[in-house]
């Protein structure tokens, strides 16, 4: 730990911790207002249908009903979207996926309103349903959004070098196809939002479980046809998001706002878990084709990648998710000849968007499986093949970016991870133990005698690793800047706020640490203000693991502006010489010559009385990046982080169960600011990544989701992962506060790939399809019920 810091890198208690352990912290559904109305959504059981008419006559006179909210009540834009406006707030023309909402009923009681839903008569014409993304671009496929003329959402090409020349120079060529599954964010708090009408001159206020208040503001303002200033978004405590409370919450907020404006009453929308899983977007399933040519020494000569992402019914964030994919598709390897195509397409499936990892866990699973397979063919160890090809300082990435100006730590994280786990020894030992992977005969379900497994052979140990590089923040996706506000009061206490929204991960604590480090005060002097779009400048969204880097940069900038003012003031006020040096530490102010000269509050009081401004806005803008869309070339991100995770597993070869014994996670987040938070990111990210690797999966039948609650959608419990060991390789980076970079997403993106390689090490059998659930491990395939009916609900 670096001794020059007083709070940075230390274990600091969360600033919202007290409220959260006592139950005082208010989440979206915990807010109530006088006269507040509730709401329920009208849906039909169709994945694709043209709506001819909706007949509300049977319920119009119901005493339970206060108002019916439809598309006709929308004064502004009826279609919204993160990147493209293709999603109807109320789908009164057409539904394109089962989660779609046709209209909304508002009234005093949710249960009363629900009893009305079945009485509404919807006349509709079912349309052909498109569920297979491989068929989306077929000429005869139905168009999900005919006005776009195609089911192609986006196509990112990348061309570097000469791919055919690369293959011709290769000693061997390997081609594989991988698939990854649809998964649900599974924030434990379902969606909740309240819109409160503020009158003609003020507009509307939104309070809710909102990931990105500024994005929500934009949606609501567009839908209500109001200027941004007339939509105030106030973020409630957010019960988890992981990228998942963005579009969904924007649309829910818009519906609530339309209802609030129409009824002139506060209107709440809160979802059950079933509705949450039904309507919210998920992680993209990918189909990934890799063709790789390599020399006998392991050097990769050429890589051709073709990836298809199922975007579901709406564009959402698909263009950006798949853009990260195209940049990182070939992994952290220097490859001379690369030819990549990443496409996202429309289907009638649940739509997909941002989720922690954001287009990286899928290609990492493919490329890291591939690297292990090449190593096996060349009789190399997994670390050797990665050393031969891994990015180093001065390497040129697939996008033609020369890696410089930051520590390219790939080999270092790999070395630390291998050293720490005794990787090579264990890997060789497990490999040597001849596995008795039972080949099952699907024609005869009865075992033959030789297939019965001896007790001692039941459990096989495996170890596997995966590495990644990840571009920090938004890169060439768009504008990348953040603002922070600090106001020092005349008693020395401090208000802090930033335009980036707390998502539960602890950014407010991180920012408090940064401000207190700069100002030389203890964190308890800082009160963090609730994010309100009416007060803080728009800082873009809390996404892309950019908060510590960008928001932290802005907080540091704001604090440094104030520090400079205070230093100047102290020098003048206390008549210190020009060559003296003023320092602020632990709520005290020192002069190098005179020693302690005052307490921080005294200085603040004096400065205030002399008319010194003690409030400041800090700003942090990312360095410029560049992207050529035609060839997929450019400096995609201004800096990168590197990670290596090692998974140690026990596999039951009779049942296909994979037990996670240990994950060692080595990451280089730059400088660790908030140590408890950083460790928490690793534990949480790895656990989510493990769930993705071994059992999480949303399956659909004609677009309808089978797993609508946590009884069937299983996420890891306290018992599913034995040990997680975080190791931080701290270093310097020219960007971010004291060189702090990104950590949230890198922790998740590697785990499934490392686990799959570990299971392969245990069984001698390679896996191509996530998740490695019971059936996949045993049969190398998924089994599905014929439909979505559940016995317990019949």
């Amino acid at each position: 730990m670096n001794e020059e810091f007083s709070v940075v890198g230390k274990k600091i208690i969360r600033e919202d911790g007290f409220d959260k352990v006592t139950g005082q912290a208010k989440f979206g559904d915990d807010y109530k207002f006088d006269g507040m109305l509730h709401s329920v959504m009208l849906r039909i059981s169709e994945a694709h249908a043209k709506i001819n008419s909706i007949d509300f006559s049977a319920i119009e006179k119901s005493e339970f009903l206060f108002s019916i909210i439809t598309s006709a009540d929308i004064p502004g834009t009826k279609k919204v979207g993160m990147i493209k406006n293709d999603q109807l707030v109320f789908c009164d023309e057409k539904v394109v996926t089962p989660g779609d909402v046709l209209a909304m009923l508002v009234g005093e009681s949710e249960s009363q309103l629900r009893s009305l839903l079945s009485k509404i008569k919807v006349d509709y014409t079912p349309l052909p349903v498109l569920n297979d993304p491989k068929k989306s671009l077929d000429k005869d496929s139905i168009l999900i959004h005919p006005e776009t003329g195609t089911n192609l959402i986006v196509h990112h090409p990348l061309r570097k070098g000469d791919i055919e020349k690369g293959f011709s120079e290769s000693d061997e060529i390997l081609e594989q196809t991988y698939t990854t599954q649809l998964v649900e964010h599974s924030y434990i708090e379902p969606e909740a939002v309240i819109a409160i009408p503020l009158g003609t001159s003020q507009g509307v206020k939104i309070i809710g479980s909102i990931q990105n208040p500024f994005t929500t503001r934009r949606f609501v303002a567009n839908v209500l046809n109001l200027p941004l200033t007339k939509v105030r978004v106030h973020q409630a405590h957010l019960g988890g998001s992981f990228g998942g409370k963005d579009d969904t919450m924007c649309i829910l907020s818009a519906r609530a706002a339309v209802a609030a404006m129409k009824t002139n009453r506060p209107v709440k929308i809160r979802y059950t878990r079933e509705e949450s899983i039904l309507e919210s977007y998920k992680r993209h399933p990918y189909i990934l084709n890799y063709k790789v040519g390599y020399a006998k020494n392991g050097k990769i000569k050429a890589m051709k990648v073709d990836i298809l992402a199922d975007g579901g019914a709406y564009v959402s964030m698909s263009p950006f998710v798949t853009w990260r994919t195209v940049v990182q598709a070939t992994g952290p390897y220097e490859i001379e000849n690369v030819h990549t195509d990443v496409r996202a397409v429309y289907t009638n499936n649940p739509y997909t968007g941002a989720m922690r990892g954001f287009g990286s866990p899928q290609p990492i699973f493919a490329q890291e499986s591939l690297m292990d397979e090449i190593a096996a063919r060349l009789r190399m160890t997994p670390d050797e093949i990665r050393r031969v090809n891994g990015l180093k300082v001065g390497s040129v990435t697939a996008t033609g970016q020369i890696l410089k100006d930051h520590e390219v730590n790939l080999v270092r994280v790999l070395d630390v991870a291998c050293g720490n786990t005794d990787f090579i020894t264990k890997w060789k030992r497990n490999k040597k133990k001849k596995s008795i992977a039972v080949e099952l005969n699907s024609l005869s379900p009865i075992l033959n005698d030789s297939q019965f497994i001896k007790q001692n052979d039941l459990i096989k140990k495996g170890i596997g690793l995966a590495v990644s590089f990840r571009g920090c923040s938004l890169g060439a996706e768009g504008t990348d800047a953040a603002a922070a506000y600090i106001s020092i009061q005349n008693d020395g206490s401090v208000y802090l706020d930033c335009g980036l929204a707390e998502n539960g991960q602890g950014l407010r604590t991180t920012y408090s640490i940064i401000a207190s480090e700069v100002l030389g005060i203890t964190t308890d002097k800082i009160i963090y203000l609730e994010l309100d779009t009416g007060i803080t400048p728009d800082s873009g969204p809390t996404v892309a693991s950019r908060s510590t880097l960008m928001g932290g940069g802005a907080v540091k900038n704001a604090a440094e502006i104030l520090l400079e003012r205070l230093e100047k003031f102290v020098k003048a006020e206390f008549k210190l010489g020009e060559d003296d040096f003023v320092s602020f530490r632990e709520n005290l102010v020192f002069s190098r010559r005179k020693g302690l000269i005052a307490k921080f509050p005294e200085v603040c009081k004096l400065a205030y009385s002399r008319g010194v401004s003690l409030a400041s806005i800090g700003w942090y803008k990312s360095p410029n990046v560049y992207w050529d869309e035609e060839f997929g070339q450019g400096d995609a991100y201004f800096t990168y982080v590197y990670g290596c995770q090692v998974a140690e597993v026990s596999v039951n070869i009779a049942t296909g169960e994979v037990y996670i014994d240990k994950i060692t996670a080595v990451h280089d987040p730059g400088k660790v600011i908030n140590r408890l938070g950083a460790e928490g990111q690793v534990y949480g990210g790895v656990t989510q990544g493990a769930g993705y690797g071994i059992f999480e999966e949303i399956t659909t039948d004609k677009g309808f989701i089978r797993e609508l609650n946590f009884d069937t959608y299983t996420i890891p419990t306290s018992k599913d992962i034995d040990e997680i060991k975080p190791i931080f390789i701290e270093g310097k980076d020219s960007y971010g506060p004291w060189g702090a970079k990104s950590l949230g997403e890198p922790t998740l993106e590697l785990t499934a790939a490392a686990i799959s390689n570990a299971v392969c090490n245990a069984l001698g059998k390679r896996f191509f399809n996530l998740p490695l659930n019971l059936e996949e491990v045993l049969l190398s395939k998924k089994l599905r019920p014929a439909d979505i009916k559940r016995g317990s609900l019949l």
């Binding site: 699907s442 379900p445 075992l447 497994i453 049942t655 019920p785």
Partner: protein, 290 residues
């Protein structure tokens, strides 16, 4: 959303049976309610017509775990946590104790009852195979009659039993197996805790000089309801527990399951696994099982 309905808390069995006699059509008995309450809240068709709940928790007749010399009698309102905290159950009915610990979470076990588990009769009810191999009987009362039948006869089809509309299950009686029995319970889920079972197996066996004196075998989740395999048991009686025979028996279990269940979407996975894990259970006898 919970539908509007009434709830009664009869102070004794008689009061409950009288209430039941009056309201048979739309009534549901609850103790823990861990199945009925979420079912109502989710508007499950199974509870669509329920208008009245009768909570049996205040009735002395359905309380207590009574230990006799030959049987243990468990009241219908006793929860899985009650069972787990009972040392006699742990010692005398180790399979029941083990299966109780695999049910849901602590919160579920604190409310859910053993009786509720089998009255509900879900295919995946964890305790059912265990109760079947223990030859458990169910005590049932109505205003006009009192009967006690084997659980195996009580269970009829998924989510259906032979309980008449005017009857209440009051107790479950489990004969204490003689000391010569050993056995085990096995559960497979998709994760290590709070999992719906994919496969459950229960087996009790008594040996006489390496010969099977008696064996009782039951499964859950691989058959439409928890099922005893009497034919298999008969066949195994008197056989030596040699490795080859244990394999044979395991394969026969697989065949029997096909007969009972037919081939389903999950059979390709479940059938080989159930044979493997039954074989592992049998091999466990050599190590002493529970």
């Amino acid at each position: 959303m919970m539908p509007p309905l009434g709830i009664l808390f009869p102070k004794d069995l008689n009061e409950a049976l009288n209430a039941l006699a009056l309201n048979q059509e739309n009534v549901h008995i609850i103790a823990g309610g861990t199945d009925v309450i979420p079912g109502l809240n989710q508007e499950s068709n199974r509870f669509k017509n329920t208008r009245l709940l009768i909570d049996i928790n205040k009735m002395p007749e359905v309380k207590g775990i009574n230990v006799g010399t030959e049987k243990i009698s468990i009241g219908a309102a006793e929860t899985f946590s009650d069972i787990l905290q009972n040392e006699v159950v742990q010692k005398k009915l180790p399979l029941l104790w083990k299966s109780a610990g695999t049910i849901g979470s602590v919160q579920i076990r604190n409310r859910a009852t053993l009786a509720g588990n089998f009255v509900n009769n879900a295919p995946c009810a964890d305790s059912v195979p265990v109760l079947l191999v223990y030859n458990a009987t169910v005590e049932i009362e109505s205003l006009s009659s009192k009967r006690e039948i084997f659980l195996n006869d009580f269970l009829s089809a998924p989510y259906k039993t032979k309980l008449n509309k005017d009857e209440i299950v009051t107790r479950i009686n489990i004969p204490i197996p003689s000391k010569k029995f050993t056995g085990d319970f096995y559960k497979l889920g998709r994760r290590r805790a709070v999992a719906i079972s994919r496969i459950t197996l229960a087996m009790l066996i008594s040996l006489n000089d390496n010969m099977i004196d008696e064996i009782r075998i039951a499964s859950g989740a691989v058959t439409p309801i928890g099922t005893r395999f009497f034919d298999l048991e008969k066949f195994a009686k008197g056989k030596k527990i040699e490795d080859q025979f244990l394999k044979e028996l395991s394969k026969m279990l697989g065949e029997q399951i096909i007969q009972v269940t037919g081939l389903r979407w999950s059979s390709e996975y479940k059938l080989p696994v159930v044979q493997q894990m039954f074989y592992q259970l049998l091999k466990g006898i050599e190590r002493g099982s529970l």
